[in-house]
Symmetry: C2
Subunit: 398 residues, 2 copies
Amino acid sequence: MKELDMGICSIDTLKASGYREGKYGVTILYHENSTAAAVYTSNQVYAAPISITRKHIADGNISAILINSGNANCYTKEEGIEKGLELAQLVADDLNIPLEDVAVCSTGVIGRQMPLDILKPVAIKSLEKLSNSRQNATDAAQAIMTTDTVKKECAVESTLKDGTKFKVAGICKGSGMIAPNMGTMLGFITTDVSFNKDTLQTALNKAVEKSFNMVVVDGDESTNDTVILMATNDVEAEYDENFQEALDYVCMSLAKQIAKDGEGAQKFMEVTCKGARSQNDAILVSKSIVSSSLVKTALKGADPNWGRIISAMGYSGVEFDPDNVSISISSKTDTAIIVDKGYVTTYDDEGILEKAENIMKQKDVFIKVNLHDGDYSATSYGCDLTCEYVHINADYTT
Amino acid sequence: MKELDMGICSIDTLKASGYREGKYGVTILYHENSTAAAVYTSNQVYAAPISITRKHIADGNISAILINSGNANCYTKEEGIEKGLELAQLVADDLNIPLEDVAVCSTGVIGRQMPLDILKPVAIKSLEKLSNSRQNATDAAQAIMTTDTVKKECAVESTLKDGTKFKVAGICKGSGMIAPNMGTMLGFITTDVSFNKDTLQTALNKAVEKSFNMVVVDGDESTNDTVILMATNDVEAEYDENFQEALDYVCMSLAKQIAKDGEGAQKFMEVTCKGARSQNDAILVSKSIVSSSLVKTALKGADPNWGRIISAMGYSGVEFDPDNVSISISSKTDTAIIVDKGYVTTYDDEGILEKAENIMKQKDVFIKVNLHDGDYSATSYGCDLTCEYVHINADYTT
């Protein structure tokens, strides 16, 4: 597997574009008769574009994805559906494809109708730029940003077991409202393989489970989350594990980019729970730690206050023996084992706390806990909680 | 029912004291042969004092409660139990009561052994001051504080249905790590009635359910939470609803005081969910809103971004029809109805958003949602999320 540097345009036959005016942006991804699968938010209150895309993608066939930032088109009733379709129609007409082959996604403020007088001209300018180039890949990744501070993209080339070469490329946006189960997260993955829609769906579910669903910024789950996987069918191929590996790699890379760019985040943390009795237990423990406001502020303050870690484990809802747990904190180069099968090493050796404090000062911190109770493990991704998070979110709509 | 101004010492025969040196404080509440009931944290990792108190309170009889701040005595193994008992023995010896009649509670940093060389002299000084006075009530409420900025107390006098007068008085501490199900929250309620331990336990469970368990500051649930109800048996009495009402009143007053003094909190919010299909649904919806980082920061920024409210309702896990929901935001004197049975009033009348913004600027904000789907309701209490919260928690142990 090797990384490619053309972003979403690493798939040669894909055309992409992005255009922004102020807080409103429109990104378009275009490849006629692509096979597609998608995963959506589990929030019961979901936005109009999700209703539209669910319908349009049901037959597994789309030709374009239209994404707008600046307005979520959520809690907008029938008018929201109509306006979403009106914008999609504009794209369909321009590209000469059926309306039903356009998937739509939105991100922005909830509970306001889409300002089509602003969005339509932006969409037209975006359409005019459609092509395959490094600049277009960048534009596409940037026009979907809201409170994101950097564009997020990843692309790889790999080979199936029979030697067939294939590519997977993706962009995403997401910075706040990132929670268990995909908070305001939009992800668009393209590949050149020729799998059917069910195979794509299964592969996407697996990849999302361990990537986007393991990112926590603030614990709020959005109404608009969507990840679409779109296959151009350029390469005749049969699914095997090597494809899954490449798709997982791209999704996990994008997920980590989201955690690192969490609203106001200055630091990144990766929390692994090992030795759990079930996959779900491992996920619950890992997410409980990565979501804890007290762990997040400890990370901010470079404070090795591991009591907050064991406490977050304790209220995760997972049964385990506190006296048989191990906890360590690591940087990329150093590890401090703080609890070793229930034995608190710092009671005898104050130096370990000092070491842990130095590790907590690093930009990337890795927390590992082991329940020593089974074979399952899970890793989640998060960031510190800072004043900037408060500022960003105290002033978002006004 | 009338409020009393003697705090915990409103119960005449109770002796109380509090003494503090630096971050270490000791509060003692003393009345021989009291009947008692308690509620503890549901965190699986619970502190040594909880093990001790569970055992000592099992027979429903205690004579004293010893509370220390500065060290949580949690994740301290056998040594923690021994040190907790050693401190309790000091109190038992001084008061000439059995060790088994002393309940103990701790609050502070997790994962460090109790510094008895510091805590013993503080406990002795506290014991020396035991008496019934306004000053002692204040000292008792203050010595249990950690990051609390104000002491928290409430006392009332009321009458049972047969005309018997009785009193209920309480103090508590709690400021951060306040979550669904009592985060680092210690509460001590005394009353002069003569109920048996089972009656006290049932009454306490009911009161805690709608008070302390409905407070959310940061979503972290502590290892040490305890609420003890201690009855002096001075007043021969049979339980009736009037007692429950008084106990509820005291517990809810204390719970609101905790929310108002949430770490870094500048504003208070009360979130009521009505029209739910079950009590649990009402609680889940109400707590999902009050816990949302995005709602908390919107409160901080006086931003009537009600999309965050509907979104938090949507991921609460409760089934409801988004198109049949009502949402209003109120101050003590004004109300803005933003969604009326699914109809977004602000689409037609921008003035309502302005009104809502003015309401959000008030110190106390009341959010009401109605699912129009049943007869159950629940109210939770919370606060805004501020930079001060981050500062307090980024620098707590170091």
